[in-house]
């Protein structure tokens, strides 16, 4: 480990090489964190001075992102994925075993500077979990044997390069292909169509296709691009949202691993249509392992004249793409928070309107689309809108990638025409004895078997692609507890309904889970949920209560049998709360027990 004393020099060098733009602050911080396992004070001081920011701004950014730390994590920073599907595969036992073997407590750096073990939100490896991130690199399919070998390597201080490389392999696990996945990566054909037909004509084709955003919200892609194209500005930007943070989603990871060219071509196509010269791929920090291959793909496209100046020899068709890393903040999947993060700031969602199409990155018109949306746009340019509309429903044309995980035979990525029923998906992935399906991730819907006849489409159950299956051996309350804790952790803290409401819901679900919940608490949950939905600043707060409400509405048997007798239960154990004072005063007998009814 390099001594932190040279962190100022290291930071100066980074800034010199990188152009010293304040918008790159987060990128500098990621590099420094990777190098020192923390952001040393000298680095903060240097960043603030050179970028003309106050130290508190720099510290504010560090504190916001889960992957940035002010104190050293040690030679190995090990994060265990805490997604519910990883937990179902045994991640909690692995976490305990890892801590025991390494002699550390969760989230507390070991005293020898060797390692820190902590949990992290879903790493997007639900089909091949349990997964760990070690210094940002993914290790999949961890079992006890692999874990013990990891412990030995950590204790020996062996650098990651010397570890068995097959541990770091990430599989695609594609089980069903359709319009998007049937073909290999793009090689410029859609851009040739663009140059042949012109931007206006191709935009019309996209409009005819009825393509809607694949992140889950389903906004018309053609309209978004048109609004951005029509907004008057000196610069426009294209942003690909690869901050795939919704628990249980991993299809974008597969696209970026094996269809990166098509994604980049989609961004280039968008740039050609709206008139952008610069684009960003915002890659979640958990997918850092993809960086090298993505940079190679970009290099190859530049070498082939598909990126850079005068693309395909067309004068004025200039466009290039930078990759920006996230640092462990779910909220940055929200497009305006993502833009803030791209600008090097804390990922706090903006007040909308204005929307990014008119005022996005650096307040210029910006298109932000999901990875899969760009890919679909390429296919539409190549094959036409009629071809695209041959799949899906009238209101939801085309296909949708699903990331399927949990209790089923074949976990992985499935491409279905939109409008497919949940039943059919469950049958294809080999799921029996299903108690519940979580569609669209923690922010989505928890559906019981009575709802399995419903379809995945924007007009019925909309989804960004997460599809988690829970059989009857699972406790639905475990699932809801995992989700409410997730939201309480991931709230950006900007608005009170979400920041406080999320914590209150978490505590109430914990109380119910532990058998202390009462009818009163159920009413409280409904009240808080309604308030969060009505008054939160952004979609995170609007959707965070969904798992609780679905539990209350669809799984009454699960929670009713957990209710404590009587209408009210204190929210904490009063006798336990007195034990410290008794110990401090030596008054073991006086004061008495406070337990008992009201």
């Amino acid at each position: 480990m390099n001594p932190a004393s040279d962190a100022g020099i290291f930071t100066e060098r980074l800034l010199n090489e990188g152009g010293a733009q304040a918008t790159d602050l987060l990128q500098y911080l990621c590099s420094i964190q990777q190098h020192y396992s923390c952001i040393p004070p000298q680095a903060v001081e240097t960043l603030a001075r050179v970028l003309a920011l106050t130290p508190s701004v720099v510290l504010g950014v560090i504190e916001f992102y889960s992957f940035l730390h002010r104190t050293p994590r040690g030679q190995f920073d090990i994060l265990v994925s805490d997604s519910i599907t990883d937990q179902m595969l045994g991640s909690r036992d692995l976490l305990q075993r890892l801590c025991d073997r390494l002699g550390v407590c969760v989230s507390q750096p070991g005293s020898d500077g060797r390692a820190t073990v902590a949990t992290t939100s879903c790493t997007g490896m639900c089909d091949q979990g349990p997964a760990l991130l070690i210094n940002g690199q993914v290790v999949t399919r961890v079992d006890n044997e692999r874990l013990d070998r990891i412990v030995a390597l950590v204790q020996a201080g062996s650098p990651l390069e010397d570890w068995p490389q097959d541990w770091f392999s990430v599989s695609d696990n594609v089980y069903r292909r359709d319009q998007l996945l049937d073909e290999h990566s793009a090689n410029g054909d859609s851009l040739r169509v663009l140059l042949d037909r012109g931007a206006a004509d191709l935009l019309q084709e996209l409009d005819d296709s009825g393509l809607r955003g694949r992140g889950g919200a389903g906004f018309s892609t053609a309209l978004k691009w048109k609004l951005c194209r029509d907004a008057s500005a000196d610069e426009r930007y294209v942003v690909c949202n690869a901050d795939e943070g919704e628990p249980g989603t991993f299809k974008d990871r597969v696209l970026l691993q094996s269809w990166a060219d098509t994604v980049f071509e989609g961004m280039t196509l968008c740039a050609g249509i709206i008139g952008a010269r610069r684009g960003f791929l915002y890659l979640r920090g958990e997918y850092r392992y993809l960086l090298d291959s993505l940079h190679t793909a970009l290099e190859n496209r530049r070498a082939s004249g598909l990126l850079g100046s005068a693309i395909l020899g067309e004068p004025g068709f200039d466009f290039d793409i930078d990759i920006h890393l996230g640092a462990g903040a779910y909220i940055c999947g929200e497009e305006s928070a993502l833009i803030e993060s791209l600008e090097g700031k804390r990922g706090i969602p903006r007040i909308r309107p204005p929307f990014p199409v008119t005022s996005g990155y650096r307040n210029r018109p910006t298109v932000v689309n999901n990875v899969e949306t760009f890919m679909a746009a390429v296919r539409i340019a190549e094959h036409g809108s009629a071809w695209f509309r041959s799949k899906g429903t009238a209101q939801s044309p085309g296909t949708k990638l699903l990331s399927i995980s949990g209790d089923c035979r074949d976990r992985g990525v499935y491409e279905y025409p939109l409008g497919v029923s949940i039943e059919e998906v469950l049958s294809d992935c080999g799921a029996d004895d299903v108690q519940a399906v979580q569609v669209a991730g923690a922010a989505g819907r928890t559906l019981p078997p009575a709802e399995f006849g419903r379809t995945l489409a924007f007009e019925d159950v909309a989804t960004g692609g997460s599809f988690m299956v829970f059989d009857h051996t699972r406790d639905v309350l475990d699932v809801v507890q995992n989700f409410t804790r997730f939201f309480a952790h991931e709230s950006c803290g900007f608005c009170t309904p979400c920041r406080v409401g999320g914590s209150l819901l978490r505590d109430l679900v914990d109380k119910l889970h532990d058998g202390h919940g009462s009818e009163y608490d159920i009413r409280e949950m409904r009240d808080i949920a309604g308030l969060m939905q009505a008054a939160s600043h952004c979609g995170l707060g609007h959707t965070a209560p969904a798992p609780v409400l679905d539990l209350l509405d669809h799984f009454p048997d699960v929670w009713r049998q957990r209710l404590a007798a009587g209408g009210f239960e204190p929210s904490f154990d009063i006798d336990a709360a007195l034990s410290e004072a008794k110990q401090l005063t030596g008054r073991d007998h006086s004061g008495g027990r406070m337990g008992g009814d009201v």
């Binding site: 009163y520 209408g567 009210f568 204190p570 929210s571 904490f572 009063i574 709360a577 007195l578 034990s579 410290e580 004072a581 008794k582 401090l584 005063t585 030596g586 008054r587 006086s590 004061g591 008495g592 406070m594 009201v598």
Partner: protein
């Protein structure tokens, strides 16, 4: 004449500011005692709650005495009201929640400036402290929450008159607008 409404009030871990605000209804107290009478309250110095229609609680729950008083009120009051920020949220006293109890006590009684005979007090007469300060609805069921630090005399007046007259309680915007 029908029986008067009985009101009981109690201060827990608070600053008495909410009781001062109650007194701030000024001459309207005379209107109040036309229809209501006080059960136990610091205002009449009766210590134990008898039986009341409305119990007003100021302050959060910080020690065993607070727990006992609060439970006593819950048993004897038909309607129990959390009055003010400390009762509703824990308020200022709950700022100690970010520290360990040991650190709080040592800061006050062992390491503090000017402390003589440093020791953590252990007299059995002193109520034991809870490790954290809690809002009162975490200990007993609460029927109404009256926010404010303190709630203004006008909002206390509105609350009491509407409750006593059996109307749904609603405030003019100016009475619950804090910035």
């Amino acid at each position: 004449m029908a029986d008067k409404i009985r009101i009981a009030t109690a201060p827990l871990a608070g600053c008495f500011g909410c009781h001062m605000s109650l007194l701030d209804i000024d001459e309207r107290l005379l209107d109040l005692i036309e229809v209501a009478e006080f059960d136990c309250s610091p205002l009449n110095d009766f210590k134990r709650v008898g039986s009341a229609d409305i119990g007003l609680i100021e302050g959060g729950v910080a020690n065993t005495e607070n727990v006992e008083t609060l439970r006593d009120f819950r048993r004897h009051c038909r309607i129990l009201v959390a009055v003010g920020a400390c009762a509703v949220n824990g308020g200022i006293p709950a700022m100690r929640n970010q520290f360990d109890l040991r650190d709080c006590l040592e800061e006050s009684y062992v390491n503090g400036i000017g402390v003589e005979n440093p020791m953590i007090p252990n007299d059995p007469e002193i109520p034991l402290l809870l490790d954290k300060v809690h809002p009162i609805h975490e200990v007993v069921k609460i029927d109404y929450f009256l926010p404010g630090c303190p709630p203004s005399a006008d909002s206390i007046w509105t609350f009491l008159t509407e409750l006593i007259e059996g109307r749904p309680v609603s405030f003019p915007y100016t009475q619950i607008h804090y910035d």
